[in-house]
């Protein structure tokens, strides 16, 4: 078909043009952030304790949400990939629902279930005196709710790609199912787990809607970076730009640092 075979493949202009447009569309807003950044006052903006509090809280909560996702999500992915559950397709749809659900809807749902008057929340409150909304734990729960599906999908994909015969071989050699999972399956799908964890972490870091609805907004306790950016935008756009820059740098650093190592598996 191609008349001349050149080493760098000739790109048809009808593909190149939309591709470049797409690239510009995705990167220009970030360039705009850099152009409009208040570089002269940036150090003042960023040395405020409120910024560091929000950033610290963001990092801690995103990491905790990822941990929760790992503990609950990996077994869930295994269940979906390796067992013949009745109604598995429905279960998978439910598990991935938070991916497409507007986060703020997730926040409302969490509030109605885990809030002080919620089905589970009222029991937690009356029995243990524990209320989850407006707490750092609430932030972690909201973030885990939206981030865990990313991990589950990634791990389930890896499990389906991994050959189950290794596990069967381990079983014939006398390993229990749990041992086979821990010693054979987990190492086999480690890259998938890591990729899913990175995705979940990045999603949790940027979480806004569910957090502000369920956990509220209070500096040092529930105000993560996205919330701080949103509130700063109402009164001090320069501060909002400065905060956004920090979040951008952290996200790029994490994705760039981990992508080649963990996410290059085809």
């Amino acid at each position: 078909m191609p008349r001349r075979r050149r080493h760098p493949q000739r790109v048809p202009v009808t593909l190149l043009l939309p591709a470049l447009l797409g690239l510009a569309f995705l990167t220009l807003p970030l360039v705009g952030l850099l152009v409009r950044a208040p570089w002269s006052t940036l150090s003042d903006q960023l040395t405020s304790t409120a910024v560091w509090e929000a950033l610290r809280l963001s990092l801690v909560c995103a990491t905790a949400a990822t941990a929760v996702s790992l503990v609950l999500g990996v077994p869930l992915a295994w269940l979906l990939a390796r067992t013949e559950l009745p109604g598995r397709r429905v279960i998978r749809a439910l598990v991935t629902l938070p991916l497409v659900l507007p986060p703020v809807v997730g926040g409302v749902a969490l509030l109605l279930v885990l809030g002080r008057r919620g089905i589970v929340g009222s029991w937690l409150d009356s029995t243990f005196g524990v209320t989850l909304p407006f707490t750092t734990t609430g932030v972690v729960i909201a973030e885990a709710f939206v981030a865990m599906p990313f991990l589950v999908i990634s791990v389930e994909g890896s499990l389906r790609a991994a050959d189950p015969r290794y596990e069967e071989a381990a079983a014939t050699l006398g390993a229990s199912r749990l041992t086979a999972f821990g010693r054979v399956t987990l190492p086999l799908i480690a890259p998938g787990i890591a990729a899913g964890a990175v995705l979940a972490w990045a999603r949790a870091l940027g979480e806004f809607g569910a957090t502000i609805t369920f956990a509220g907004n209070f500096p040092g306790r529930t105000q993560t970076m996205p919330l701080a950016v949103y509130l700063a935008m109402e009164s001090d756009p320069e501060a909002a730009i400065a905060l956004s820059l920090v979040l951008l740098v952290v996200s790029v650093a994490v994705l760039a640092g981990l992508r080649d190592r963990w996410m290059s598996t085809p």
Partner: protein, 288 residues
């Protein structure tokens, strides 16, 4: 010949890709709007829906027509919705669209070019951010005043009688963030009372603070007296003397870049009319 068909097919694919992209953009836009408490959602749709079609047509008759987009403080939601209906009834051909939200985020949207005709803010300070940016047409007019009250769940289960009661242990309080007018007023009132209060959450607008009380997630919140009155079936209000120290003036202005200038002027005038004053007064707003 065959090369030509290939090109055509390629173009079709590219067009499909472009279409998919633009659909994606629209979807993102509406999603982003809903996440940001609706403050930006009507901005893009407003630009498409409100060409100043009626602006010139209203020249001969002193009545407004066409689309009028009003950005108004969240605390004005009930009264302005009512005023909008009455205004439309009095001005056939006019259609008033509202964008209610925290005054500060509305001001930010206006300053970033949202196609609004009228801005009604819950404090002169937020209006000032628009006038300072040259966004208002003429001087803003103060049309009502509002004071704070303590919103508590029906029956006041924590027996709160004043601002001091908010600091009792086990009492959870939601306040507006200091960036929005109700939050600034709350800070002033608390300071005047010498009460040092740590809320559990700082909400983006007064309706957010109110909802948390309605849901029972907090025991009290400082909101406007008019909000409690509008929601009297679900919550009670506890008045406190220091509220007089934190009175919020509500300014309204037609905007310099209003797509429908005549409509904007007419609506601003209507909000200050005796009929509108009656509606606002009945809702608990005070005359300026």
């Amino acid at each position: 010949m065959s090369h030509r068909t290939t090109t055509t097919r390629r173009l079709a694919v590219a067009a499909a890709a472009a279409l998919a992209l633009s659909l994606g953009v629209t979807a993102c836009g509406s999603d982003g709007g809903s996440t940001a408490s609706g403050s930006t959602s009507s901005a893009p749709s407003g630009s498409a829906a409100s060409p100043s079609a009626g602006g010139s047509a209203g020249g001969s008759v002193p009545k407004a027509s066409g689309d009028i987009t009003v950005f108004a403080a969240a605390s004005l939601k009930e009264t302005f919705t009512e005023l909008g209906k009455r205004f439309e009834a009095a001005n056939p051909g006019a259609k008033v669209t509202f964008n209610f939200g925290g005054s500060s985020s509305l001001a930010t949207s206006i300053n970033s070019g949202a196609p609004a005709d009228v801005f009604a803010a819950a404090s002169p300070a937020t209006m000032k951010t628009v006038t300072d940016a040259g966004g208002a047409s003429g001087q803003p007019a103060t049309f009502v005043k509002n004071t704070l009250t303590i919103a508590v769940p029906k029956g006041n289960p924590k027996h709160i009688t004043g601002l001091n009661g908010l600091t009792a242990s086990g009492v959870k309080v939601a306040l507006c963030a200091k960036e929005v007018p109700c939050g600034a007023a709350a800070l002033t009132a608390l300071k005047a009372a010498g009460v040092n209060l740590t809320p559990v959450t700082l909400e983006q607008d007064v309706k957010g603070a109110l909802t948390k009380v309605e849901l029972g997630e907090v025991d009290a919140s400082l909101v406007y007296r008019t909000d409690v009155k509008a929601d009297a079936g679900k919550i009670d209000g506890v008045d406190f003397p220091e509220a007089d120290k934190a009175v919020n003036d509500y300014p309204i202005a037609a905007l310099a870049k209003a797509p429908n200038k005549d409509g904007a002027t007419a609506f601003v005038a209507y909000v200050q009319s005796p009929e509108a004053k009656q509606v606002l007064g009945a809702a608990g707003f005070q005359a300026p």
